[in-house]
């Protein structure tokens, strides 16, 4: 049922090149999910999120100091190895320092037609963030119009927002099904679904989501659900890891990742001016820790997810050296524990020691089960 998503996720370059060929339109690679993709989509551009390949590599050492996160180096390696040589454009919306280096090194060393660094407010809790972001989106829109030669009319932008909102709504419906005792899909499948949405035409992705949604309620997975888990933390597209955990008698039922809920959780709400509506959406979405201050709004949101999805335990992952998450994790782990959600912390690299992690995960699941015995 989820094979199409898996295929798109695994063969992302083939999909993008084919899309480029059949539509004759531009493909833009982006870093960080704060990029307002709707603007690009309205201009007929396919935005694809650049992710790593989870292979050891030796090409980024001259460009990014090894104390920065493995994810940002893995992404740059994809560019340096020519795997994204079909891109017409490249952009980033300002987020953490780590991934910013991927963008700046890429721009310097890999020729590309259009590049754009989009300033983006970091203090999303300030009322001043909205007018600032509105103006930045307007400037960005103009740059995209000049690049593509396409005027982004209100009609085109409204259509893009509608397509994106539908995508968000459909994925959320699927996530809602995971609240049930039988969640109908695995965490691995959910992650493949969301990641594939970041690298395909949302209209096509929507059609596939509708097919899945039609079949999902009657799906019999035939697998033991085991312990209901949540996964959260840094950027995570390590599908092999999710697969390993779910083979140990557990099922991920919800997440707080930018390859999961943080990407699609809230829709653009129509209140008036489309650009203003768009800006409000990117301010209101579940936040990346680098943009969550002075208050820690993430903690409350994560606990709410854990409660609503009836989570028994959480795996808190962090890309090695990921400062923004490192700065939130102690508070999150403490609050989860106080709310009855035991959690296991694991540090991720480009590749993870799957055998060692399996031992730790099994011990964690056993611990949770023991607690259940005496409840």
């Amino acid at each position: 049922m989820f094979d199409k998503f898996k295929d798109w996720e695994r063969n992302r370059h083939d999909y993008a090149k084919d899309w480029q060929q059949r539509t004759g339109r531009k493909v833009l690679g982006y870093f960080c999910t704060y990029v307002p993709e709707e603007i690009l989509y309205a201009a007929g551009v396919l935005p694809v999120r650049i992710l790593g390949s989870h292979e050891p590599q030796d090409v980024t050492e001259p460009h990014i100091f090894g104390m920065f996160c493995p994810f940002c180096r893995d992404c740059l390696a994809q560019g340096l190895k020519g795997r994204y040589d079909y891109l017409d454009g490249l952009m980033i919306a300002q987020s953490c320092l780590h991934i910013r280096q991927t963008y700046t090194s890429w721009v310097k060393h890999i020729p590309i037609d259009f590049t754009y660094y989009m300033p983006h407010p970091m203090k999303l809790q300030s009322p001043r963030a909205l007018p600032y972001l509105i103006e930045e989106i307007r400037v960005f829109k103009k740059a995209v119009e000049e690049w593509t030669g396409q005027e982004i009319t209100d009609e085109k932008l409204q259509n893009a927002i509608d397509v994106y909102n539908e995508n968000r709504r459909l994925m959320r419906e699927i996530y809602d099904l995971r609240k049930a005792g039988d969640p109908k899909l695995t965490g691995e499948e959910a992650m493949e679904m969301v990641i594939s949405s970041q690298m395909t035409d949302k209209a096509e992705h929507n059609e596939e989501l509708k097919k899945v949604l039609a079949q999902l309620p009657s799906r019999e997975t035939g697998r033991d659900i085991g312990t209901r888990l949540m996964i959260l933390g840094s950027e995570n597209d390590d599908i092999e890891f999710l697969n390993m955990v779910e083979s140990c008698g557990a099922t991920f039922v919800v997440d707080d990742h930018c390859t999961g809920t943080r990407y699609f959780w809230n829709e653009v709400e129509h209140n008036g001016d489309l650009i203003e509506d768009l800006a409000q959406r990117y301010i209101d979405r579940p936040r990346c820790p680098s943009k969550d201050w002075e208050e820690r709004t993430r903690v409350e949101h994560i606990v709410k997810l854990a409660n609503e999805w009836d989570v028994k335990g959480a795996i808190v992952i962090q890309q090695k050296f990921c400062d923004p998450h490192e700065l939130d994790i102690p508070a999150i782990r403490k609050t989860l524990k106080e709310n009855g959600v035991d959690n296991l912390f694991l540090e991720f690299d480009v590749t993870v020691p799957i055998g060692q992690f399996k031992v730790r995960v099994e011990a964690f699941l056993e611990m949770i089960s023991e607690e259940d015995l005496f409840d």
């Binding site: 100091f65 700046t104 407010p121 007018p131 600032y132 201050w293 820690r296 490192e326 700065l327």
Partner: protein, 434 residues
């Protein structure tokens, strides 16, 4: 032999005064409550001029220099770092931050007594750790009023009105917040005075750095660390602005009389990022080769404010007072403060390492350098961002580059003897001997 004495040298006469200003700073912060005053904590880059409007009895502690002060005391630093790790925080986070948090957790002030709890937190945010640093401080202190201004609006050459507005509007909000949390009425006259002082001190610091273009250099970087730090403590104060003018006059006198920082100057270098504070002897080791570091973008541009001069050189930014601008109200003061700080050289590389490379190459040319020592600093992601690209850019520009890995505030990640070995090899490459 390169160790031959070529120039006259002598210690700085104003050195004692610099030391006294620093000592008074940490004492005044600790004793602020005894005088009925207020204490606040925030970063060295924060808009310290703004809390000045609360009164003349308001004292601050800036986090990075405090973390560096702890780092210089290896035994205390070790205790602080371990206390932070025990509390669950990752060992690879900013080492200033970890030293600082450790001092709070242990309730030990590096200058004696318990850690003086601030009344409020006043921070700015350009690096991933800045705002989050004080989020954790607030957690550790059981909740403290905390306000942080986001300054990450892109490089200065792309600044537009709406970006300045973003900062200035946050500053206005911040002043309302300060009045609310302190119960005090804000005095715009004190703000205006602080803005004038900040522009003066940071421009004069750049003037002092310019004097180091001369051969022989009147200052070397180890000494400059103890001088620039005053700007990181209270760049908005009259005390620091006045002192920097006195220091500038003394350094000018050294230039006029060819008083060198080191007597055997033959090889001019620059460093980059914060040094490993517990191992400044590394800079003395250079002198054995007749080498010195004449500064860095870090010592020049962390506090110093710069601009292109009509003759094409890099020089001190012209202050509002030098331009004859009279600041008349709060909004004007805040706009000047925002614009002034956004031009800070050390803020530009947060958006592109290539902007930093351009400035470094410029320094290498104008300060007549023979090579560059890059500290790949595991303790600071904010200043190490893009450093590998800086290396490539400097090499492309024809400058020999030596790299060494370390940590400004965690001695467990620095190996002095290994680094000295790298210096030996670098010097041999450049043709200098002990």
């Amino acid at each position: 032999m390169t160790t031959k004495e070529l120039y006259k040298t002598r210690p700085l006469e104003s050195w004692g005064k610099a030391k006294e200003i620093r000592q008074n700073y940490y004492r005044d912060y600790a004793k602020a409550h005894e005088k009925g005053g207020l204490r606040w904590a925030g970063g060295a880059w924060t808009f310290g001029a703004i809390p000045c409007g609360l009164g003349e009895d308001v004292w601050s502690i800036t986090s990075e220099p405090y973390g560096a002060s702890i780092a210089a005391n290896k035994e205390f630093s070790q205790k602080c770092l371990e206390a932070t790790e025990k509390a669950g925080y990752a060992r690879d986070l900013c080492s200033y931050m970890r030293n600082y948090w450790g001092s709070v957790i242990l309730n030990e002030y590096a200058f004696g007594g318990p850690f003086p709890k601030p009344d409020f937190l006043w921070q700015d945010h350009i690096c991933c750790s800045h705002a989050k640093w004080y989020q954790v401080v607030s957690d550790l202190e059981g909740g403290l009023p905390n306000f942080c201004i986001d300054v990450s609006v892109g490089p200065y050459h792309e600044i537009t009105k709406h970006k300045i507005d973003y900062l200035v509007n946050q500053m206005h909000d911040g002043i309302e917040w300060l009045e609310k949390v302190t119960g005090r009425t804000y005095n715009d006259e004190l703000l205006i005075e602080a803005v004038y002082n900040e522009c003066r001190s940071t421009s004069v610091w750049a003037e002092i750095c310019v004097l180091n273009k001369v051969v022989p250099a009147p200052l070397e970087e180890k000494t400059m660390y103890s001088l620039y730090v005053l700007g990181t403590l209270m760049k908005h104060s009259k005390i620091v602005a006045d002192y920097y003018e006195e220091l500038r006059d003394e350094v000018q006198d050294r230039v006029d009389n060819q008083i060198a920082a080191i007597a055997n100057e033959q090889c001019r270098l620059m460093s980059d990022t914060q040094p490993p504070w517990g191992f400044l002897s590394l800079f003395r080791y250079l002198e054995k080769f007749g080498a010195l570091s004449v500064g860095s973008l870090y010592t020049f541009g962390l506090i110093g404010m710069w601009e292109d001069k009509p003759d094409g050189t890099w020089g001190p930014r012209t202050t509002p007072q030098q331009q004859g601008i009279e600041i008349k109200d709060r909004d004007q003061a805040l706009r000047i403060l925002a614009d002034w700080n956004l031009s800070k050289p050390e803020w530009q590389h947060f958006y592109s390492p290539h902007l930093k490379t351009d400035m470094m190459v410029r320094i290498a040319k104008e300060w007549k350098l023979d090579g560059v020592m890059l500290h790949y600093n595991r303790g600071c992601e904010g200043l190490s961002i893009g450093i590998a690209e800086n290396r490539l850019g400097l090499i492309d520009a024809g400058y020999p580059v030596m790299t060494f890995e370390g940590n400004m505030g965690d001695e467990r990640e620095f190996d002095l003897s290994k680094t000295m070995g790298r210096v030996d090899a670098f010097m041999e490459t450049l043709g200098y001997k002990k």
